[in-house]
């Protein structure tokens, strides 16, 4: 089956959520609207709606993560689903087989949804292809490939602040090469029709084919930040610091770290985003991260509503209609 169609059912509605690629603008807008509706649940005395009562959602994490797992867990719980958290540390050699076995076991327990995070690209697609027909799969990050729920919560945050995507210039700064977040963000931003997407970073951390994605590439942060509406900082993955990619953290901060002075080059109402966890003093200065333009903690809050929307949308189609 075609890798990009696997996430839609025969009516063109979401069945799995694996990547932004191949999804239509209307579908993304529908998700944003649903998240907007579900965000009010957090303001209730009882922060819960009974939409997914009796459903079992499995957080199947082969790669560690705190924020993504906990927000998925809270999202599922606020929809009244039962949640199972499974952290699997598995060696590369046995991965394929173990993954299938794990899957079969969880299916035998009548689970309804797998939320999968894996260090290998394509892992969530693999699970979706092999899962039982009633099971929905959500990609919570796979290798360097995609992190579509993060991208959608970022779109939600942008829409909350800017109202629309038209006429916006959005800059994504940092390690774009290794970032599944950036890849999904670029797909979402172009699907939603922003005016201009910029990627800013050192040559070693920008993919060579970047311009074919429809983005403008800058290697000078100051130049790239001029008149942007939204700045998305990426986490510098420290494990890459000692390789050939970068000279030192200090030098990286000098060139690509976001400081208040550099922020002045953006539009006065520009917002600063970061998918977390942030490295203070590496890609972003504390004064900016904690400053008035930072919406980093709002992103976390929005992550719950967005994940509630994605879980409930995909779950609608995982159960055959009962008359």
């Amino acid at each position: 089956m075609d890798k990009h169609n696997i996430q839609l059912d025969e009516n063109g509605r979401l069945r799995h959520f694996l990547t932004i690629e191949g999804l239509k603008r209307e579908l993304l807008v529908e998700l944003l609207d649903t998240a907007e509706s579900l965000s009010s649940v957090a303001e209730q005395t009882v922060k819960k709606v009974p939409l997914l009562r009796g459903k079992t959602v499995v957080n199947l994490f082969f790669e560690s993560s705190t924020r993504t797992r906990t927000t998925f867990e809270l999202a599922a719980k606020r929809l009244s689903a039962d949640v199972l958290n499974i952290n699997v540390n598995v060696s590369a050699a046995t991965k394929g087989e173990t993954l299938l076995d794990t899957l079969r076991n969880l299916e035998a327990m009548n689970c309804d949804m797998f939320i999968v995070r894996h260090s290998e690209s394509g892992a969530a697609h693999f699970v979706a292809r092999h899962a039982a027909p009633h099971v929905s799969v959500i990609n919570a990050g796979d290798g360097r490939h995609a992190h579509p729920t993060q991208a959608m919560l970022d779109m939600f945050t942008i829409r909350r602040h800017k109202g629309t995507f038209h006429n916006l210039t959005v800059a994504i700064v940092g390690d774009v090469l290794h970032s599944r977040v950036a890849r999904s963000q670029i797909q979402a931003l172009s699907t939603l029709g922003v005016d201009e997407i910029r990627v800013i970073g050192p040559r070693t951390l920008i993919p060579q084919e970047a311009e074919t994605l429809g983005v403008r590439v800058f290697h000078d942060l100051r130049e790239g930040l001029r008149d942007v509406d939204v700045i998305i900082m990426l986490r510098l993955q420290r494990e890459r610091m000692h390789g050939a990619f970068l000279p030192s953290e200090h030098e990286y901060f000098q060139l690509y770290g976001l400081t208040e002075r550099k922020l002045e080059l953006a539009r006065p109402d520009a917002i600063v985003m970061h998918p977390g966890p942030i490295n203070r003093g590496v890609e972003i200065d504390s004064a900016v991260a904690d400053g008035p333009r930072s919406v980093i903690l709002q992103q976390v809050t929005h992550g719950i509503a967005m994940r509630m929307a994605i879980i409930s949308r995909t779950m609608q189609h995982s159960v055959p209609a009962v008359s």
Partner: protein
């Protein structure tokens, strides 16, 4: 009776009078009124004004509490429900446009209880029609109609409210 010929505004004025009498009889002085989106809010706005209630009108969107979610799905644009922070020990008048199967009211009751523990809840419905599937009844009713299963009654608004009958498969 042809529903289109019903004077809705006059019916609501009459409901307000009877609601006032019910409140007096039960000795309830400061009730909280909550309308269910969309039609129920229009009716509630008029009742709320007629009764000159002190607390602002509350609104409920019960989409997330429906029991047929896996069949019909969730509409992406669900309006936020607005209820006071504390509804404990309050007397609530729930208002809807059409009382049909009773499932909407059941969902509304569930949602209200997610906000707290009210002292009592009563129900006012502009139209009470045949086809109940749950043991739910209204305390004050505008008009009662006997309709066939495939007939559905619809309230048009928000200005100058009027009723019409449509043949549809969706449930009210």
């Amino acid at each position: 009776m042809d529903p289109a010929s019903i004077d809705v505004e006059a019916t609501i004025r009459d409901m307000a009078e009877r609601l006032r009498a019910v409140l007096a009889k039960r000795g309830l002085s400061a009730p909280l009124m909550a309308g269910i989106y969309t039609g129920g809010v229009w009716v509630a706005e008029r009742l709320h004004a007629a009764l000159k209630l002190a607390d602002p009108l509350s609104t409920l969107d019960i989409s997330f509490y429906r029991d047929d979610f896996t069949r019909v799905g969730v509409h992406p644009q669900v309006r936020p429900s607005h209820l006071p922070v504390n509804i404990d020990e309050r007397h609530i008048i729930l208002v809807d446009d059409v009382l049909h199967t009773g499932r909407t009211i059941r969902a509304a009751l569930n949602e209200i209880f997610d906000y707290g523990r009210p002292a009592s809840i009563m129900l006012a419905a502009l139209v009470e029609r045949s086809g109940r599937e749950l043991p739910i009844q209204a305390d004050v009713v505008g008009v009662s109609l006997d309709l066939a299963r495939d007939q559905h009654i619809k309230l048009h608004g928000p200005e100058q409210l009027r009723l019409s009958v449509v043949h549809a498969r969706t449930r009210g």
